[in-house]
Assembly symmetry: D2
Homo-oligomer: 175 residues x 4
Amino acid sequence: MGLSGAVMAKDSAPVVSTNVTEAEVLAAQQAWGNALVQISQDFEKGGFEKAKQTANAVLDAAYGYNMGPVLFKPTLTVAPQTFRTTKEGALAYFVGGDKNYASDTGFALKGWRKVDVKNVGIHLHGNTATSMGNVSITDKNGKVTTVDKTWGYVKDNAGNLRIVLHHSSLPYSPK
Amino acid sequence: MGLSGAVMAKDSAPVVSTNVTEAEVLAAQQAWGNALVQISQDFEKGGFEKAKQTANAVLDAAYGYNMGPVLFKPTLTVAPQTFRTTKEGALAYFVGGDKNYASDTGFALKGWRKVDVKNVGIHLHGNTATSMGNVSITDKNGKVTTVDKTWGYVKDNAGNLRIVLHHSSLPYSPK
Amino acid sequence: MGLSGAVMAKDSAPVVSTNVTEAEVLAAQQAWGNALVQISQDFEKGGFEKAKQTANAVLDAAYGYNMGPVLFKPTLTVAPQTFRTTKEGALAYFVGGDKNYASDTGFALKGWRKVDVKNVGIHLHGNTATSMGNVSITDKNGKVTTVDKTWGYVKDNAGNLRIVLHHSSLPYSPK
Amino acid sequence: MGLSGAVMAKDSAPVVSTNVTEAEVLAAQQAWGNALVQISQDFEKGGFEKAKQTANAVLDAAYGYNMGPVLFKPTLTVAPQTFRTTKEGALAYFVGGDKNYASDTGFALKGWRKVDVKNVGIHLHGNTATSMGNVSITDKNGKVTTVDKTWGYVKDNAGNLRIVLHHSSLPYSPK
């Protein structure tokens, strides 16, 4: 196991902190966007298996499925498979191709090129943090999709933020 | 200020805990449902002002607007007023009648009679907790509306859970 | 109840943090030292009742007895009253004059003039923090007493650090 | 990395908690006592190298030196080496034989047979906990030494409590 806390030498006393910082939240959000674009590009250049491999690695590195069920409500899932608390369910959502999740068509494979995050607020509570805001994703044709998104993070002993909560939804449209 | 931690006498040593328990989360969820029904009933019996008074009291007691901006994405809000990080915005959503939030019609006034919460998972991290799942609300005509809902709580020094994060969305409907 | 979290406007998104900072720990340590000197001075100028009143106010403001039993092992207490988990026990230690704590002679009344804190480390975990190091206190005759000291803090909803753990001991003297 | 949180199936929703429980604190205290006795016995049966190996393993498993400086004030250390914030300093205290810590004679090698912990209080704050009380250790001749002791713990991602704070002192003796 690596370092759990950042050690900062100030005055003469070292400070060990397990707290999440705003900068770490912003970096984790950017990493999520980069990963989504990467999966799309890997799909275009390397095909389904390559994309699936990347998505799998992203889930291992950036989500907290190793810590227990993740509270994940993806944008486009439908009942009775709305919530993807297992890694298998999350992987199916991102790349599809899983007969146990027949309605999934691979959200991450849709030619994404750019991800912009606009937070309305960030909460920092010890080794956890939450954020809420809009995330806008642009595809290869320049079409932008904006969703309402909540993320929750836990910092692990290696100092990495892991997504343990992710609620994404299309904006409400009055009929 | 009241007691911050529950003190339990076990063996000979008292235990002070500031941690949120599952039971406290379930109780807070039930209290939210009861409050929604109460506002509807107060509206029917006592009119708008009575309902607004109740909604105001609910926001003061059950939400964390006294702690800073709340990460609140109600079910039916639209841009540019999607997120209601202030108490004023939350109150407008629940009871309407605020010219600064002209699209709000008063979500809590729609004759709600029953609220059922079905969690898919609860996370406990110190004096904070999150939950995700479906919430089904039944109106006076027996019509049921089910939403996908995430709540985040912080326990205050008086031992009360306060909602500091609330993301609610209608289920995705493939076209 | 006041503000629980510091709100910092950065970029466009407000950040709410309930985490303790190193600066807050250092300020709380300095405040403890100032309070000790104040009690001594109040005793000299205003007598026992004045000193007791000040000590009482310090315990209310800077310790967490309102949150439950405080883990307090003062420097000079003896069994069976070594630990002062109640406010009454802490007050007796600081100013004496309590027949229930007959061995207490009023530690804070000994003419203290200066307090220096030299930390060997500070740990920050969410709304709690701990520190360890040497504390040197100088009396009116210039005599310096150095103790080994551990403090534990919890930040309350008003944003104040409260001492919930305090272990103080004279340096070990090999015979 | 293993499981970070205990997952408990209750009702239909799994609960993930990273919080420390009282039972975990009591178990960690007992494990500390057992480890002290083990080192003594390994010394008697296997000699210095065997004892040192065991002490090293105990420090790796039960202390948080892998997370940064540990706030450790052992019972019998003297200035300027009072505090043992590094693993090397802790190991020297327990088994001696380190020329960089010439005053250490190996506290854990003194024929310890039994350890009793009597807490005056335990505080639980998320994935951290603190305890204070008396620890009485009995040697092979039946002699009992009682110290005032504070422990602070952090639960790591594998679910193990690690000591990150340890302040031990002999009872104050009025002259």
